[in-house]
């Protein structure tokens, strides 16, 4: 029994040392105490812009639902859907372009020509349970995009409010061009 406890303590200390070390030194570290409860609560309100609990101060801005709706009214703003292709196919914000974060490299060659770097871009995914939009926006920023924002309410909020949506997906090479005038 004593031996088991000794070994458990040893293993936990070893894990703790590496956890602290990795999170302190390596890039991609996160806060030890996240703001999870506050973020979950804020997603219920359409006034406050829902944001990711892991958002950093220098991340692209998070849009309220109203702000996202206003951006949508501007045909010059491009909406990017960061979810899986299947989710996109099942339904997405009208005129949005599929750019699944987890299949980014596969989609990027087709999507890039549709995304001039000076255009305003809004990334979204399924909603508060999903952070793909944040990851996508961060990644696009490293590629030189500056006018980025994130609609963290995402598809669930959009659908709930009954705003313009499309279904289906064009063949590769024309991803996201459907529904465009």
């Amino acid at each position: 029994m004593k031996r088991a406890i000794t070994q458990i303590v040893q293993l936990c200390i070893l894990a703790a040392v590496f956890a602290v070390g990795r999170n302190t030194i390596a890039p991609g570290g996160i806060a030890w105490v996240g703001q999870w409860t506050a973020a979950t609560a804020s997603t219920d309100s359409s006034n406050a812009a829902p944001h990711s609990p892991s958002a950093q101060p220098d991340d692209p801005p998070f849009l309220t639902f109203e702000a996202a709706k206003a951006k949508f009214a501007d045909p010059g703003v491009i909406f990017l859907d960061a979810r899986d292709p299947e989710d996109y196919r099942a339904g997405h914000i009208a005129r949005s372009i599929a750019l699944p974060f987890e299949e980014f490299d596969q989609y990027w060659p087709d999507v890039e020509p549709q995304l001039p770097r000076d255009r305003e871009i809004v990334a979204y995914c399924s909603g508060a349970e999903c952070e793909l939009s944040l990851f996508l926006a961060r990644h696009l920023r490293t590629l030189g995009y500056t006018k980025l924002s994130i609609f963290f309410g995402g598809w669930s909020k959009w659908q709930e409010q009954g705003l313009p949506a499309d279904t289906g997906m064009a063949a590769p090479g024309t991803v996201g061009r459907e529904g465009r005038g």
Partner: protein
């Protein structure tokens, strides 16, 4: 049953549990943020503990898995991993009963990876049985610690191993 005392079964149980947990830890260590998100989706831990848990857990999995694979600190590692597996079964079970469709976070932090379900619970149950077998039966003949008894001659083995006690 004689088969439960089989040295090969001990070895296989130790290696399977060890490899599963080392494999499970890697993606979570690489993507702490995504893993923390998955932990929060389980809606079990209070918000203030989510990140600490998400940062600490994968390393515990990693080192306990390595301990089982090489056969050192087997008693402690198998106790931790049996306990963790039991906790996972409860956490998954609660969310299956709640009927929520969230990512498992078992082997991958991808939201596209498998979601919770009965198959996962069965797999976890098998893993728990294997971990309990290691816990009860000990490291077996082919474990490192079975060959490194604490003795004056153990001075030649790497530091740390000298703290071993023989089963």
């Amino acid at each position: 049953m004689p088969i439960l005392r089989n040295e090969w079964l001990s070895l296989i149980a130790r290696l399977v549990v060890g490899v599963v947990y080392v494999y499970a830890s890697i993606d979570k260590i690489i993507h702490p943020e995504a893993f923390a998100k998955i932990v929060s989706n389980y809606h079990i831990l209070p918000g203030s503990l989510i990140n600490i848990f998400a940062l600490f857990l994968p390393w515990v999995e990693m080192f306990c898995g390595i301990a089982l694979i090489i056969g050192a600190r087997v008693l402690g590692a198998s106790t931790i991993l049996a306990g963790l597996t039991a906790v996972f079964i409860v956490a998954v079970g609660i969310n299956v009963l709640r009927g929520v469709n969230i990512a498992c976070g078992c082997f991958s932090t991808s939201s596209k990876a498998r979601t919770l379900g009965l198959t996962l619970l069965i797999q976890d149950a098998v893993l728990l049985l294997l971990a309990l077998h290691v816990l009860v039966r000990g490291p077996g003949r082919w474990a490192l610690e079975s060959h490194c008894p604490p003795s004056p001659s153990a001075a030649a083995v790497p530091s740390g191993a000298s703290a071993h006690e023989q089963l």
